[in-house]
């Protein structure tokens, strides 16, 4: 069994019109045994930047702690919030530092950032376990449920969705996908990031 399938997880991020959403399952398990249904896999770095981490749970926690440390240090020195694209580069270099003994995780970075002429532009990015970045405009998936998530997202995604619509779409995509994967599920949480606020909702899902 692959090390990336030891714990199991599902993370998906989608862009909308001046908003982004990121969602994950809540299962904490070891191989086929489920130990908890309240594990957070998405972490807030600041109001407009979230990172969801899939993969080996111990590395998920360690990387989250290291990223929080680096982000806070950046904020102390720069006296401003770190931009999602800069954060993505930081994640990438941090993972590549461990090129020959990597952290077994796949992070999904999601946020809103101001570009030269536009404000609150959606930004999503994922990297592999050694830091190779992938940028897209539509959606990104990570974890053990990637095949299922690719299918539902490809079928159900539309560009420029409003926050409510985006929430519905990403929720249905995640729930439909994790119901076909034994290693993920047991609850789901969705964060929708808009310029004014972050709406976090826990979904009622199958507890198996």
């Amino acid at each position: 069994m692959s090390i990336m399938e030891y714990n199991g997880s599902a993370v998906v991020a989608m862009t909308g019109k001046n908003c982004v959403a990121i969602a994950s399952d809540m299962r904490y398990g070891i191989r086929m045994q489920t130990l908890a249904a309240d594990m957070r896999k998405i972490f807030k770095m600041h109001d407009q930047l979230f990172v969801g981490i899939s993969g080996l749970a111990t590395d998920m926690q360690t990387v989250e702690q290291k990223l929080r440390f680096r982000t806070k240090l950046y904020e102390l020195r720069e006296e401003r919030n770190i931009k999602p694209s800069v954060f993505a580069n930081m994640v990438s270099s941090m993972l590549y530092e461990r090129r020959f003994g990597p952290y077994f995780i796949e992070p999904v970075i999601c946020g809103l950032e101001d570009k030269k002429d536009q404000k609150n532009v959606p930004f999503i990015c994922t990297t592999d376990l050694i830091g190779a970045q992938c940028f897209t405009n539509d959606f990104l998936v990570a974890g053990t449920t990637t095949d299922q998530l690719y299918g539902v997202c490809e079928a159900m995604y539309k560009p420029d969705m409003e926050p409510e619509d985006l929430f519905e779409t990403i929720s249905q995509c995640l729930l439909a996908a994790v119901d076909r994967d034994c290693l993920s599920g047991w609850g789901a949480i969705v964060h929708v990031i808009t310029p004014d606020q972050v709406i976090t909702r826990e979904l009622k899902s199958r507890q198996d």
Binding site: Y150, G151, E154, A155, M156, L175, D179, R180
Partner: protein, 229 residues
Amino acid sequence: MMNLQIKTAPAGHIKEARFSPYENNGGTVLAVAGKDYCVVAGDTRMSEGYSILSRDVAKLYQLNNTSILASSGMHADMVTLRKSLDYKIEQYRHRHHKEMMTPAIAQMLSNTLYFKRFFPYYTFNVLAGLDENGAGVVYGYDAIGSFESIPYCVTGTGSSLITSVLDNQVAFKTQMKNKAELSFDEVVDLVKDCMTAAGERDIFTGDSVDIAVITKDGIKYEKFALKKD
């Protein structure tokens, strides 16, 4: 022809060139059962490894006026299985003076597959048709003949991508409040969306899709283009 050569390397490690009788030619097939119809679809790409052997190979096979066998897996085994079923269906027609109904073909297919339990047909089959009451019926199989009648079934390289979409849009599993019966036009549109999605993300699915709709008035075919990359 294949020559098996056993090479002995230094330090006592024995290497062996292995011949595998199986090859996955890729592709995705699916079927959805409705109240009085069945929609069957399959892409038409045949691959070997990372190469495309053909862009126009049918994965759907009409067994008789009311049943279609859709398979993915190894093409050679698909062809042989079809020949075998054709022969048995013809025999049934002569012996019983009637066409074999889909539930009977379903059981026969299962037995045919299990007969080769220890050197299986590398085929992942979906049998679709109408039952005695005229309702749509879909049977999903594994390689050695385990089968059940289910509302919809997807097999092949794109199955994990499409199954969740059908869970959500045909069975409404995660949105029971919106549960509704679908007409066959809606199902055909959904099938086209699903195959397009699979064609985008699965490298072995693409080129075009054969769609067949089975009703009591017969079987109608349609071809739908997919990306060729």
